[in-house]
Symmetry: C2
Subunit: 393 residues, 2 copies
């Protein structure tokens, strides 16, 4: 038997240029894209380690933390969730999941595989969890680890009260894991001040970097707990005591753990550099202003936002109810076909119910907001008109 | 408290251009580098899924397999090792590690974390495992899974007899995992014909792609075993039943599993396209010729190869004994400082004992062989001379 070379690989690579205004990835700037065509570097070369150091400093800034154990996991955002849970959880630990969309369920799937005793506290549909609900769940379950997404990209819900949850976790001797994949850069996040034990974020959202490297940070308290585990974390690839040695986090010699992608490092470094130059507060302010304008525009179009309370709305991923009788998929297809613009549908519990419009990084500008509003309206009207015409035939 | 933006990120990105002739990564071609500055794509966009399909076909070709469960893990080569073990192993399974360098030990670390009962069969220093040694170990341990690196990059040892090991595994109802990270493209590998159950390889070696996406394939037999597991694989991120759905392996609708890096996909796609255009047999032949010339040159320089038996030498990563009284680090530093050329030292058991010279992908040419020989010789002579001069003072 011989497997022949595939014909499809004889064709040239085709990559269209799109405006990515779904829940992420968002577009990278030209600076970031160009950085990624630099020659690759060895994973232990001093220039590569230097860039890792620079990236590490950038991550400390965006998380507002002084944690030594600040690094990237070499994988997608999901690998950040894995690393957070894998390092904290030992068999039969009670892990409480705050649910306001799909991400708590995803974390639950991971945690159970690591041997955790998983419990839930679930918000009512379209609302954030209240502090009272969380307090009651702590009372009932007395968790070892509490997981919550600051922004749930499936519902567009922003979970405020992270500072109060941080206090609560200290009272219960519980570790607080905050998923900031979709929220960071779009809303305040002060890791140290809020007593967050583990935070990770997406590189390909408000940061404007490429997907594939996931910034993560562990508090001193979490780190000392991990050092005292009875058993090794279940995954070598996610073991932050080892990864942190490679990233030079602990003042010990650098030890090879895996081959980091220098290409992605270049891109992330440039994205962080750009982010730092703009300044965290300005970036957050810009994302908020864009979302406010979008929300206003949505209401002016006679459409309705999915998240009822304004204060519970995530500025980065905005959810809009699909009007009655309109097929969301046709609207999204229209925008993509005619304008190369991504408007996304729902995910998990919101599939079919919402559009998701991402205003992140390069795409968090007032011009893009006006553009997406105009195209969304045109697409909905066009789909409605077609439906009316079809019904006449 | 406020963490200020780091000053280091105000400096421009600095990436030197080097010739990477260590154990990997190897240099990417200009075509691959340029592909990675294309605009990013959404992870569920049809153009992205199309490129994934093309990459999948390319991987089937390089592994010479028709396996449906052929995909990439979104992570470094180590994540391929994780995925192979994570999906096959259940608690207390006996896993036998073939050791001819560091990689069997690394796999052992991972497997133990997954709950395996790990056993070893170890080659004598500087030699490949013999078939008799492996047979005896099967007799003793009756393993559920057998792991072996076809090429161990720490020692430069090539493990032949994979076809015979494939037969042996069938006799013992054992699953055969072959690490081809360092060997693929430099030596024959026929996954289906040799009855290999899981194979994975490095993208950044002979393939000439970027690090960060790891090609992997599971046999029908392995897949049906995985479908019948009593427990879920311990890691969601490495669960190939889920990843394979995202990669469209099973004829079921594509389901979002994680956000793949479209940037790395572009690079890997172009590397595979180039590899396919050259043809597997020609690529292997070229790597063999380059290694033969290097081996001859090394002996002409009065140096000695680490692997005694010629037939046990891996063509891609060549190990050369460090001459008595010479500091390998000074030699490597000389080559890097004067020529931007990477010559590597040992890893694990070979640290301080060997130089490692990689002849892979773009760097597997006769011109590069002559260059590296000439520079290695110059560097050694220069270091020796300096030592003599210093002893006179």
């Amino acid at each position: 038997m011989e497997v022949p070379p595939p014909l499809v690989l004889k064709r040239p690579l085709f990559v269209p240029s799109k405006t990515l205004m779904g829940p992420g990835p968002s577009n990278c700037s030209q600076r970031v894209l160009e950085a990624m065509s630099n020659p690759v570097l060895g994973h232990m070369h001093p220039e590569c380690l230097q860039i890792m150091d620079e990236v590490k400093e950038g991550i400390k800034y965006i998380f507002q933390t002084l944690n030594d154990a600040t690094m990237c996991i070499s994988g997608a955002g999901h690998s950040g969730m894995e690393a957070a849970l894998c390092n904290l959880i030992e068999d039969n630990d009670v892990v409480l999941m705050g649910i306001s969309g799909v991400w708590g369920h995803r974390a639950a799937d991971m945690a159970r595989r690591y041997g955790a005793d998983v419990r839930y506290v679930e918000a009512s549909f379209g609302r954030a969890l209240t502090l009272d609900e969380i307090r009651a769940a702590f009372e009932t379950h007395n968790p070892r680890v509490f997981f919550i997404a600051q922004g749930d990209s499936s519902t567009g819900i922003l979970q405020r009260h992270i500072p109060e949850i941080g206090e609560l976790c200290r009272q219960y001797d519980c570790f607080l894991v905050v998923d900031t994949v979709a929220s960071l850069g779009g809303t305040d996040f002060l890791m140290d001040e809020w007593k967050v034990d583990v935070a990770y974020t997406g590189s390909q959202k408000s940061l404007g970097g490429p997907a594939g490297l996931t910034p993560i940070s562990f508090s001193k308290r979490a780190l000392s707990h991990i050092k005292q585990r009875k058993t090794k974390p279940k995954v070598y690839y996610f073991d932050i005591l080892l990864i942190g040695q490679y990233w030079g986090c602990y003042g010990t010699p650098r030890i090879y753990h895996h081959t980091i992608s220098s290409t992605l490092l270049f891109g992330l470094r440039e994205a962080l550099s750009n982010f730092c130059a703009m300044g965290l507060k300005n970036v957050v302010q810009r994302h908020r202003e864009c979302s406010a304008r979008l929300q206003l525009g949505i209401e002016e179009l006679g459409l309705e936002l999915f998240v009822q309370q304004e204060k519970d709305r995530l500025p980065t991923v905005n959810t809009i109810k699909v009007p009655f009788g309109v097929d969301w998929k046709k609207v999204a297809d229209y925008a993509m076909r005619k304008y190369n613009l991504e408007i996304s549908g729902g995910l998990g519990p919101t599939v079919g119910h919402v559009f998701r419009i991402g205003l992140m990084g390069e795409n968090a500008t007032l011009e893009k907001v006006d553009m997406v509003l105009s195209i969304l309206n045109e697409a909905i009207q066009s789909i409605k008109l077609r439906a009316v015409e079809r019904s006449k035939i």
